[in-house]
């Protein structure tokens, strides 16, 4: 059955925008999606991955290296030898709750250790996710040390393994997408801050939207091929937009005025550190690239600021209004 098309997702504009930005610039540092169950979080991420064009990868490389520019840290491709390439779908790797560190990071290859007495590395989930997406449902229930490790790898793009007598590095560049329901436990603020973008998704409350969602799903289930074929034009358009944005991204400029606004916004909100500014600038640039713009404008900043900043605010028990409202308030002040 073909994957539910990205363009057929009803509503959830902010989440879709965040995912598109992450697809354009994986370095923005992951997307955190907080919200209710059954709001299409998992559908959206799988749909996005299916929409991306298949990538070329070195045959036999456990890290899906690009044959034209294999990662420096790839132990497989660094060994040299002829490189054959094949087309491969962009991977979406699910990280299950309760996954052991062994499975995530990779471990000593048990088969070969027992069978041949050879010390070899068995790549884990991080290796499989290279150049793709790593999706963690209920990231708030994942143990903190694992989240820490994931964010670390996601930021550096390299997984360093020092365990069980193994010592190696391999590329692990992926878009980290975490989702969860804050009512079931919150992420530590230090971890929250390290996600690039955070969106809040809620179940649509108005009945027409809900009906539209269920109707789309129903139509898809009754005739998946037909449904997707009818959407293929839209899908191609989004695909093209992402690819063009990737090309354009290095040339998008950020004027000094925009940088100043970014700084003032972060000051007004009292976000700690410089990560807020950096992410806001980065994501605004990706958004501008998606729009086909040459420079970042106020409009881009305004559109992405809530997602880039809302999870970096200090918790204030006096302020009953949510963090989104506080960002909006600061936006009006700064952009007056």
């Amino acid at each position: 059955m073909p994957t539910f098309p990205f363009s057929a997702i009803v509503g959830q504009d902010e989440m879709r925008q965040a995912l598109l930005i992450a697809a354009v610039d994986p370095a923005v540092g992951g997307v955190l999606v907080f919200g209710d169950r059954g709001t299409g979080k998992s559908t959206a991420i799988r749909a996005l991955a299916a929409l991306l064009p298949p990538m070329r990868a070195v045959v036999g490389c456990p890290y899906n290296c690009d044959p034209d520019s294999p990662a420096d840290s790839c132990p497989h491709c660094a060994a040299g030898g002829p490189r054959k390439s094949h087309k491969k779908a962009v991977p979406v790797v699910d990280l299950p709750l309760g996954a052991t560190e062994d499975r995530v990071v990779g471990t000593l290859d048990l088969e070969r250790a027992l069978g041949a007495g050879v010390k070899a590395f068995e790549p884990g989930l991080l290796a499989r996710a290279n150049r793709g997406f790593l999706y963690i449902d209920e990231v708030n229930l994942l143990e903190d040390h694992l989240v820490d490790l994931l964010l670390d790898v996601a930021a550096s793009g390299v997984n360093t393994v020092e365990r069980e007598g193994l010592s190696l590095r391999h590329p692990a560049r992926f878009v980290l997408v975490g989702s969860g329901n804050p009512e079931e436990g919150e992420l530590r603020p230090q971890l929250l801050d390290r996600f690039g973008l955070a969106c809040e998704v809620v179940t649509p409350k108005d009945i027409p939207t809900r009906i539209a969602v269920v109707r789309a799903r129903d139509a898809y289930e009754r005739d998946p091929e037909g449904f997707c074929a009818a959407r293929s034009g839209e899908e191609r358009k989004i695909q093209k937009r992402i690819l063009l944005a990737r090309e354009r991204l290095p040339s998008v400029t950020v004027p000094d005025a925009a940088l100043e606004r970014t700084a003032r916004l972060c000051l007004a909100l009292g976000t700690d550190g410089l990560r807020g500014e950096l992410t806001l600038m980065r994501t605004a640039r990706a958004l501008a690239a998606l729009d086909g713009a040459e420079t970042v404008t106020d409009d881009h900043l305004r559109r992405i600021a809530p997602a880039a900043l809302r999870h970096r605010l200090r918790r204030n028990p006096l302020d009953e209004s949510g963090s989104t409202a506080r960002v909006e308030r600061a936006l009006t002040e700064v952009f007056l």
Binding site: E111, L114, L141, V214, D218
Partner: protein, 596 residues
Amino acid sequence: MTGAPPVPPPSVDCDGHTSRPDAGKGRTHTPLPPPSAGEGEAPNLWADAHRAAHLIAADPIAYGGAVVRAPPGPVRERWLDTLRAALPPDTPWRRLPPGIGDDALLGGLDLAATLAAGRAVARAGLLAGADGGIVVVPMAERLPPGTASRLAAALDTGTASDRPARFGLILLDEGDGDEAVAETLADRLAFRIDLSGIGLAETWADSPDPEPGAAAADPVGDLCALAEAFGVASLRGPILATRVARGLAGDRPIGRQDIVTAARLVLAPRATRLPAPQEPAREEPAPENATPPEEPRAEPPPDDAAEPAAADRPEEIVLEAVRAAIPPNLLDQLLAGRHPLAGAKAGRVGQAAASRTGRPIGSRRGDPRRGRLDLLGTLRAAAPWQAVRQTEGETHRIVVRRDDLRIRILRQRTETTTVFCVDASGSAALERLAEAKGAVELLLAEAYVRRDRVALVAFRGTGAELVLPPTRSLTRAKRGLSGLPGGGGTPLAAGIDAAVAVAVGVRRGGSRPAIVLLTDGRANVARSGEGGRARAGAEALQAARALRAAGLPTLVVDTGSRGEEARAVADAMGARYLKLPRAEAGQLSAAVRAAL
């Protein structure tokens, strides 16, 4: 294990007891619940359960499966037999053993076979083996969260370790009281069946399928409106209900009755609120109803024809039909202000996660399926024997025998951290504070032996202060306590907030927190630091409810001599309450030990 053997026709003796040759191993004889016959207006529960079984059998993958809440016993067996008999022959049927590991569930290395053969022997996991069939999970309320999320991922993707694994899931929920199946998983399954009130005799009655009724104009719209009316937030509810309505209808168009049945089977068990009954004569929804089950689409104009307008609106009829299928205890739970499944999760998730981890403190001989293999330990154990075990021609591989296998011993983190939250305000504060200090020191001395920890939060004047971060150190505790001042207003909310923050941090660290709050409950300083009894009291109760939501075990020690304020706070926290107007240090520490 493969294939469903045909179910022999059960023979019934005159008492209504079954004697079935294959009633299953470990058949338990639970006293049957009394048959709930004679409720004319209630829908036939068994007929619905029966219908659900047939729907699942027709397409296990589309419906996800069912949560079956029932004690083990003949009624549940009968339902499972119904399902099994309705499935096509040779449909895979797998039972999930408790405590199943990743290798067995998703597939991996068959360790025993690998060792015996001396080469890697892979095996498919249980889920891949169940492709196209059914996976039955006994005691699903105790399913570890990790296993639950793996099952959810397999349901979403239809694969397990890159092998196809599309299956229907039957979660057998034997829990009573607060235990419930993980909502992540239950949300993905169409049906929730409660067999606990059904007598065996009822299961023999045949109930014909109801007439489909007139074709529904907009089944999706109707089901969405119904989901909204019953407070089903997740969109999986109406999506699955639509699927069920289509399944019921088959090739003919979806009828009115199909919608009623689908809503009753799928939406009613997920209801979180009861729609206010609407009088058919009225055109407008009741004004006090905050979320009327009203469709915002164009209202049909008031119709003066023979048929009343309300009858045209499908929700009206369907609402009534579905309302009857709401679980009977839902109302009580709603009145108690508790979401049916919400209370069950929070605490247990954390605990289960903690028991899986722990710190490795060594290894011992054991079966790696029951723990984590300690590879180095295993190889180390095998190393000395290699020369003896080497056979001719095979000099390169390491020979590992079962006896060499070592698994890690994990230390369970069960230490307790008691967070004292002390009211250091007002006139009697000095005395109270001295008692609290004494109790903390006493507990600390005991904790020192048990390796438990203690923390102290004090609130007075305009805010709260963490006087003593969680510690095991006696000297540090004494130093922190001696410098603690008293007097001023009572910022109770700030104190509770601070204690919760400390306790939640403690829980994150893997330790088990407990809060002891010493106060008279008379808050008079709000979080902002401003005075005012009313606002301070309201904020204190709000903070207390937040504490309850965090699921922290709490003891409230009422140090006031009169008044019920502390009791109200304790009730809002769901805490134990202890009235000790003149607590002595020894008495207090004894009470704390007994209560927590």
